[in-house]
Amino acid sequence: MKEISKSKYKNYVADRSKYPLLKDGKPEFDLNSHMFTKIWQGPQHPGVTGNMSLELVINGDEVIDCKTHVGYLHRAFEKLMERRKFMQCFPIVCRICVPEPDTNEYCFSAGIEELAGIDIPEKAKWIRTLNLEMSRVASFLMWIGGQAGSLGMGIIGQWTVTMRDFWLDLFEEMSGGRIYHMYMIPGGVRKDLPEGFELRVKKVIKQTRELLVDIEKSFLNNAITKSRLQGLGFIPPEMVEEYGIVGPTARASGKPFDVRQNNPYLVYDQLVMKMITSDVGDAYARTLVRFAETILSIDLIEQIMHKMPKTGKIQAKIPNVLNWKIPAGQTYIKAESTRGEHGFYIITDGSKYPRRIFVRGASYTHAISVLEKLAVNISISDTAALMVSLHTCPPEIER
């Protein structure tokens, strides 16, 4: 990684002299001058992750200006939650991020528990951690496929999505749902792990590890992958805090930001894990960091399966959910999703309904401010790769 000299990035800092004036860091362009073309990528576009769109102004193949348009998946979760009882919010929250619903479930449940003063049993904590790490693996697998697909290597996507499906089978067994698990209920988890679950997890882990070796050889150690991703979307370390960049994206720029280790929740303080960082900051570094994170998550799952108490209660006592009132208060619960800091800000006012729940997704800044900044002066062929390398997830932006 380190062999890439900084001089390479100079290729991607365009010669501004041929373009019009910059205003507020954005070029002013006249579409009637026939120098520029405006094209839209998305929402009906296979290269865009999920349902969002990019409004690009291009000159030749070079992107001059990028605006992100979101809101195609707006379902008004935050409004809907204001008129649902606390337990009724629980099936809703997981829909906020489709590829990785569990982080939402955890944040919501933990927030409610904190405000209501409930302590969940030890075993529930371990199962929740297991669930979170499993969902990270599933989400990362899908992401690797997306990153390869954005470069035109569909094979990796075929493999990883299939492998993800084996993880989904585990989720199905554990929680009864494939995509929306609705497993971490306020107060604990809904079911104990089924019998023989550990063995099946081990089997899938073995398969996944084999596949990751294949992917490393075929995709990461690939001349063209490197030539496409190295130097793309360079995020200097100074930019990280200014733009609120979190998660693997920040870690790839050399900032050790990981909620699991900075502010351990659940049982993360009892697990051995190391901070995965890179000091390069380009899309390839992000790819490598996420790839290492996938392996780390698998390691963590093995640790959890080993250390987890075998018996115990899985739910704390909660009041009748139909009439559950939570005392007034506010809290901010955050957890590390695959994209970074994912948080729920919850305000209650002593009634049966939450006053306000705000969901902070990492993609919010990644997909808008950061993407709009990074997309300028890259080739239009790379917009998809750049977007995927920031790992954006539209539903958590517009909620």
Partner: protein, 303 residues
């Protein structure tokens, strides 16, 4: 031979080549699917797709050129094919091979793309011109090593007639251009990767950036024409390469085996790599294959 017989034979040959080309496409899809870890669509899926596309009830057109685009493209494929002798020594598959047909074929390979560019540009979709720009520029660059390789061949065999080139390679496997002039073959095979638009040179059609590029607006029968052409054109190209570099074929079976293997080369590479950006692809073609092409000319001219 009577011109009418010749035309009759050519029609048969075109039909067979198209069917073969489409079936080859189906087989290749199956092979890709295996690499993906799945079974893949049936081999005859491309045929059903064409019937289905033809069966569309509405066909939106964007003007005269929009009609002509697919027609030009098909004409390109047809033209390429019609001047390539498919099976050495066969009357039915001799097509209209003649002196200098190699130049004509190279022209037709280019011609179809240009016609397509005109028609697709008429579609009005911003992705079409983007795709055309990429396609034409990339084509220009992969034409360079290919042209160099063909020049090397012309120097080597002192002819521009494909039949003559094939004839010169008969006798022993060692007479194939593959062994007599390996540099030219390497240069040509690399440019074939670009010609077939498999990864890593598939940026023209990249769905992730410019959803399938130039033909984005093509629908119904227009698309069906393009699909049919894809079968014919692929077959034509493969046969051309077989004739020029791999000793041609004396019967249908040899033809099928050889063209399949040639095609497999680009599939083999295509499965393993993501695609280049356009400027990377251009830089690539103008670098190694061009150098090899020049070496091949030097090789035949001075050694």
């Amino acid at each position: 031979m009577d011109i009418w017989t010749k035309i009759f034979y050519a029609v048969i040959s075109v039909v067979i080549a198209t069917i073969y080309g489409l079936a080859l496409g189906g087989v290749v899809r199956k092979i890709y699917a295996r690499v993906h870890g799945r079974y893949g669509p049936p081999v005859w899926q491309p045929f059903i797709d064409i019937i289905k596309t033809h069966a569309k009830r509405v066909a939106v057109s964007h003007g005269i050129m929009f009609y002509l685009g697919p027609v030009f493209r098909f004409a390109g494929g047809l033209g390429t094919y019609l001047f390539i002798p498919v099976i050495f020594g066969s009357a039915v598959f001799a097509n209209f091979s003649m002196a200098g047909d190699l130049l004509l074929v190279m022209y037709f390979i280019f011609f179809g793309q240009l016609g397509m560019a005109l028609g697709a540009g008429e579609g009005g979709h911003p992705y079409s011109p983007l795709g055309i720009a990429r396609g034409l520029s990339q084509m220009t660059t992969f034409e360079v090593p290919f042209a160099l390789s063909v020049i090397a061949l012309a120097i080597q065999y002192h002819t521009l007639n494909i039949t003559a080139i094939v004839a010169a390679q008969q006798g022993s496997i060692l007479n194939w251009t593959l062994f007599t002039n390996p540099f030219a073959v390497v240069a040509a095979m690399i440019s074939m990767l670009g010609m077939n638009m498999h990864s890593p040179f598939s940026i023209v059609l990249a769905p992730q950036e410019i959803p399938i590029g130039p033909p984005i607006e093509m629908n119904s029968s227009f698309l069906a024409t393009l699909q049919t052409n894809r079968g014919l054109f692929v077959a034509a190209k493969l046969i051309l390469f077989m004739n020029l570099y791999f000793g041609g074929a004396t019967n249908l079976v040899v033809m099928i085996v050889k063209t399949f293997l040639i095609y497999m080369f680009s599939v083999f590479v295509g499965a393993a790599f993501p695609r280049f950006r356009p400027e990377q692809a251009m830089r690539f073609f103008l670098k190694w294959p061009t150098i090899i092409g020049i070496i091949s000319i030097i090789f035949v001219a001075y050694l």
